[in-house]
Symmetry: D2
Subunit: 360 residues, 4 copies
C-alpha cells in the first residue's frame, strides 16, 4: 500500500495492488478496509474519554440498533472473538450451567478452553455440517437430569459456522423456539455473520430478533479489530462492562471501536464487503467445480473446504499459496480451507484456479 | 485531524491543532502518534499470518530485545494493561500463590478484581507514595506461614506508580534482592514505564535486568493500543501464548502490534514522546508552584496530584477542562489528577494555568 | 475412651477421663459428643439414598427450621467451614461482585484464598475487635464507584468472631439495615455461633431473621464434622446443590450429617455443649484475672487471647500444654489463644491455672 | 443396628440384620464397617492437632506406603471423590492443560463440571467399555497441535470404571508407556479400586508403580467417608495441602481419616470387604445368567448392568427394591445398575433373584 493511497477509492475489480501469490489462509490477513482506516485517521487527534464512553461508540451503538430495528438492544464493543465469546457466556451463566455447542464449534475447539477457564462446561454434539438443530439440542438435555451433572443453559451456534455453512431463518426460528421451550439462551457467534447474511435469507433484524445475544464481527469483515455484542432488551446484561473490565476487555482507547464500526455501518459497507468476499468464493467454487474438485462440506459463504491430493497441495504451497489444512492429513487426499475476504482481488482467485488447473 | 495531515510532521511546539479546552484526564485521550499511524497505513494491505506470527511482530520483538540488551528475553505483545497484568500473574502463579501489591496498585484497585477472577489473592500493603520496599514486602511475608494462608510468590510494582512516583535503580535493585532472598518474582507494570525512564536513572536495560517480567506500555505512550511483555530468559514463560489465546488476548491481526511497536522503537520515538509528556507536566507544576498550589504527593512524571478548593475545581469544569477526581471528595479541598501525554500541546498547559490563575 | 463407654452418660463435671496435660489449641481436638457418636452407631447399617436425600437430613433440616422459627428457610448440610464459606459466597455473587470482611475475617486470612480461587475479591477493613459496623461497611462502599472496581455485594461477619467477640442483637439489626439500604447480602459465618448465642442476647431465631444466610457450625460444637447452611426464604439458593456437587461438597453418605445434626438439635444439646465450653473459658478468665493477666481483646466466648511473657509461654509448652500463638511473636510478650470446648473438663482448666500460677 | 452391637463381630454370612427389601442402588448406602466404627469409637476423646497433622494420619499414610511398596509416595487423605478428582487435576495442570477421559468417565459426566469449574477442559473419547487405550489417547493428541487448542497433559482413568470394567496389569502398563511417550500424567480414580484389585491381576503395588497418582477409595469400601491420594515420588505434589485447604478439603478433625484408613488397612480389611462385595455380585450374575438376563456390558466387579423389560423394572420397584436406571429409558427394555457392597448380605441377593424369577 502506498503513501497517499487513502485518497483514492479502493477498486476491488481493478486489483491494481495484486500480489501474485495470494494467501487464502484467512479473512484477517490484511489490515482494515480503506474507509475504516480513513475514519481512524480523521479522528486521530480528537480527545475523548476512555473505555468506550465516547461519542463515537455511542453513535455506533445507536446506528447498529437502528440497522437491527432493535431500539432497546444493549450494544457493547469488544476487541476479539474468543474474548467476546468467553465474556458473553460467563456473564450469562452460573458456574454449574453449561453451554451446548456443535463439536466443531469455535468455543469447543479453537479457543484453548477459554470457556472452561471461566468455569463452564461446553457440552458438545457431533454434527456433520457444523449446525445445531432442536433435535440435537434436546438429545443433550435428555442426558442432564440432576445436580450431579451440569445444567445446560445456553445454545451456542456460529453463523456462518466454522464449516462455512449457514442457518436459514426458519432454522433459527426453530432453534429459538427450542430454547424458549427449555429455558435456554440462544447465542449466535457472528464472527462471520456478515458473510452469512450476504448468503442467506437471514438479516441483521432477524439475528437481533431471534437471538438472546449475538455478535456482529468486524475483524473478519474489514476492521483492524472489533466485535459488536448485541443483547436483546430482555436479557440481563446490565453489568456487562464489569465483566469486560475484569477480563481486561475494556479497550482504553475504546473510541477506536466506535470509529471503526461507524465506518463499517455507513452505507452498508459491512454488507458490501461481505458480498465481495462471498463473490470471490463463489468464483473460486465455480472454478473448482470446473476442475471436478470435491468438497468436504458445501458452503455458500466465503470459506471453501476442498479435498485435494496431497501432492497437489504440496505443489500449491511450493508456488507460494497459503491456506489452512483442515483436520488431520489424509493418506493421499486432504481437506484444505480456502478463504476469501473483503480484500481478495478477483485476479488472485483466477490466478489460483489457473495454477491449480495445471497441477491436476 | 485533517485528511492528508499524515504527510507533514506533527509539530508539538507549534500546536496548530490546539483545542482550547483541553482534557487532562488521561494519557490515552487521543489516537496514535503520527509515525505510528503512518506505519499502520503503509502496511495496511500487506498480507500476513495472524495472531502475531508475522514478521512485523518478530522484528519488533527483536528490536525490543536489542534496546533492552536482552537477546534472550521472551517478548510478547498484548492489547491492554489489565489483560496483560492478569495474564502475567496467572501464567506464573498457582492458585494458592498470591501477589503482593501496594494498596494503591492498579491490580488491587482498578482492575475490577481481574487477578482474583483468575483465582489469585492480591495481598495489599498501605504505602504513602505507591511504592513498595523490601521492608513492606517482608512484613507481608511474615504473616504468611502455612497452608492455611496463601503463599506470596510475586511482588507487583508499577513504574511509574499510580501516584506518578518512580523507583530509582537502587530501589529496584533492593527489591530484586529481596525477591531473590524469598523466592519471589518481581513484576513491574510498565504501563507508564517510558515516563518513568524519562524521569529517572532507570533504563530499559535496567528494567530487563532487574525484573523477572515487566511490561513496556504503548497505549499511554503513543500507540492506538499495545503492551509489550518482557520475560527474563530464566523465567518459564514457554506457554504464554496458550494463556493469551485462552484469555482471548491473541489479537487476530497481531501484526498491528508489531507494526506499532516497530514504529515506537524506531529512533527512540518512545523516549521522545515520554520526554514530551513529562516536560508538559513539569511546566504545569512550575506554574502550579507559582500559584502556591499544594500536592497530594510529589511526582516527577506525567501525572500531577494537586489539591484544589472544591469551588475552583467546579469553576475549571465549567470552563470545559477535564481531569480525574482522586479518591473521595473532601469537604472544602479535593485532589485532582492532571495528566499530560505525548500529544499535549504546550499551549494547553499555558491556557490551563492562565485560567486557574484567575480562579485562585 | 474405653470400649463400651457409650453405654454411660458422659459426665462433664466428674471428668473421669482427665488428661493431665490438656490441649487448649482448638475446639476440634476431640471427636464427637457421646450422643452424636451414639446416633451414628444406632443408624450405621440402615440403608439410605446418598448425597443428603435421606430422611435423617430431611428431619434435621425440619428440626433446624423449627428451632429457627423459619419454616421456609432453605437448609443444606456441608462438611467443613472453609468449603461452606466459599460455596455460599460463590453461589450468591457474580465474579465482579465482592465480599466485605474484617481484615481478621476467616475468609480473608485463614482460607488460603478460597474465595479468590472462586473468582471473587474480598474487600477488607481493619477493625480492632474483629467486628464490622455500618460505618466501616459504608467506607468500603464509598471507594467503589464504577466498573473499573469490583462491586461489593455481600457483608461477611463471623459470630463469634475470630477474636472471640460477639455481636449484640442491636448490632446485627444495624448491619442488616445497612445491607438493605445498599443492596448487600448479610452473611454470618457461624462456625462458633453456638458459643456466641450462649454468651449474648442473640438467638438462632434472630440469626435466621437478620441474616440472608448464616451457618450453624457443628464441627466446633460436638460433631465429627458438619455445618448447616440456612438461607432466608427470599434468597435465591435454588441451585445450591449444584454448587455443592460441583465443588465436591455433596457427601456421598450425606446421612452422616443428618444423623449428627438431629442429635445435636435434640433437647438443645448444641446449646448445652456451647454453654459448657463458654463456662470453662469463663473459669479460665477468672483465674487469669486473679493472676493479673492482660488480654489482647476481651472475649466473652470460648476463646481467650492472653498476653504472656515469652518465657512463661515456653515453660507452659515444656509442661505439655498446647495452644495457638496469635500473630507474630513479640519481643518479650506474645499473645496466645486459649480455647475451651464441649469436651474440656473443668479439671483441665484448674490444672492449667495452677501451673501458670507457679510460673508468674 | 442395635445398641451394643459393636461388641460382637459382624457376620456377613449369617445376616442376622437382613432387611427384606434391599437397596442395590449403591455401595455407599450404609455407614461404616464395624471395625471402622469401633476405631472411631475407641479414639473419640483422644486430643489431637487438627487438619491431618495427627499421628493417626501419619500412621495410616505410612501403612499405605508400606502396602504399596512405595516408601517415598506422597499420601494425603480427603473426604470425597469428586473433591479429590478436582484437586488432583487442578494441582497438576495449568489452566490451558486438559485431561483426557472416557466419555463415560466420572469427571466428564457426574461431577457437575467440577474440573471445568477449576478451569480445565476435559477432552472426552467415546469408548464401549469405559476404558481408555493408547490408541484412543493418541487420537485425542493428534487433534491438539497449537496454542489455539488446549494442551492435553493428563490421562484420567477409573479402575474399576463407571461401567464396572477393569484394567489388566498389561493394559495399565501400556497406558503408562503411552503417557511417558507423550509427557502425560496417568491418574487413576480408585473410588472402587479395591473391587478392581479383588477382581484382577492388578495390585496396589502395581497401581502405585504405574500411576503418577491414584486414589484409594474408602467411601465405597467400608468407611464413613475418605479417599487416600497417592502421588508417585517424582510428581511435584509439594503444595497439595495448600490446594486442599484453599478448596475447603482439609478436614478440621483430619484424624477421622487417619483412624478410618488405619482400620481399613489393618489385616487387609479393605481387600476382604471388596472381595465380599464382588462375591455378592458374582452370585447375582450367576442367578441372572440362569434367568437368561442380558447385560449392557460385562463387569467382573461389584456392579452389574442388566437389561430388563420396563414392566419388570416397575414390578421390582413396586416390591421395594432400589437400583439406578442407567442412561435413558428404552422403549421396552432399559438398563439397570445393580451394586453390591461390603455390607450386602447374601440373603438379599438370593431374595432379589427369587423375586425377579417370579417376574420373568
Amino acid at each position: 500500500m502506498k503513501k497517499g493511497m487513502m485518497d483514492k477509492t479502493l477498486d476491488f475489480e481493478q486489483g491494481a495492488y495484486i500480489i501474485i501469490m495470494y494467501s487464502f489462509r484467512n479473512d484477517y490477513s490484511e489490515g482494515a478496509a480503506p474507509a475504516v482506516m480513513q475514519a481512524l485517521f480523521d479522528t486521530n487527534l480528537n480527545q475523548t474519554v476512555g473505555y468506550g464512553g465516547d461519542d463515537y461508540c455511542q453513535q455506533a451503538a445507536d446506528k447498529l440498533r437502528q440497522v437491527c430495528h432493535a431500539p432497546d438492544a444493549q450494544v457493547h464493543f469488544t476487541v476479539g472473538g474468543t474474548q467476546t465469546n468467553v465474556l458473553i457466556i460467563h456473564s450469562l451463566l452460573r458456574s454449574f450451567e453449561a453451554v451446548i455447542s456443535a463439536a466443531s464449534g469455535h468455543i469447543a475447539n479453537h479457543e484453548t478452553g477459554g470457556v472452561e477457564a471461566k468455569g463452564h462446561k461446553v457440552c458438545t454434539i457431533e454434527t456433520p455440517d457444523g449446525k445445531l438443530t432442536p433435535t440435537l439440542v434436546e438429545a443433550v438435555l435428555a442426558g442432564h437430569s440432576s445436580e450431579h451433572m451440569v445444567a445446560p443453559k445456553m445454545v451456542y451456534i456460529s453463523n456462518s459456522t466454522e464449516l462455512g455453512t449457514i442457518y436459514t431463518k426458519e432454522e433459527l426460528q426453530g432453534l429459538r423456539a427450542c430454547c424458549d421451550a427449555h429455558g435456554l439462551y440462544l447465542f449466535a457467534d457472528g464472527a462471520r455473520v456478515a458473510s452469512a447474511i450476504a448468503a442467506s435469507d437471514v438479516t441483521l433484524v432477524d439475528m437481533a430478533e431471534l437471538c438472546h445475544v449475538f455478535t456482529f464481527g468486524g475483524t473478519k469483515n474489514g476492521l483492524l479489530f472489533g466485535e459488536a455484542v448485541v443483547f436483546a432488551p430482555d436479557v440481563d446484561a446490565t453489568h456487562f462492562r464489569y465483566f469486560m473490565k475484569q477480563h481486561g476487555a475494556l479497550l482504553a482507547k475504546g473510541r477506536l471501536l466506535g470509529v471503526q464500526f461507524l465506518a463499517l455501518l455507513e452505507d452498508d459497507l459491512w454488507l458490501k464487503l461481505a458480498t465481495h468476499a462471498n463473490a470471490q468464493s463463489a468464483r473460486m467454487r465455480e472454478g473448482l467445480d470446473a476442475l471436478h474438485c470435491e468438497y468436504f462440506v458445501d458452503s455458500p459463504t466465503n470459506q471453501s473446504f476442498v479435498m485435494l491430493e496431497n501432492k497437489v497441495i504440496e505443489a500449491l504451497k511450493d508456488r507460494g499459496y497459503e491456506f489452512e489444512i483442515e483436520g488431520l492429513e489424509g493418506e493421499t487426499v486432504t481437506c484444505i480451507r480456502i478463504v476469501t475476504s473483503w480484500a481478495t482481488p478477483q485476479e488472485a482467485v483466477q490466478q489460483f484456479l489457473a495454477d491449480l488447473g495445471t497441477l491436476l
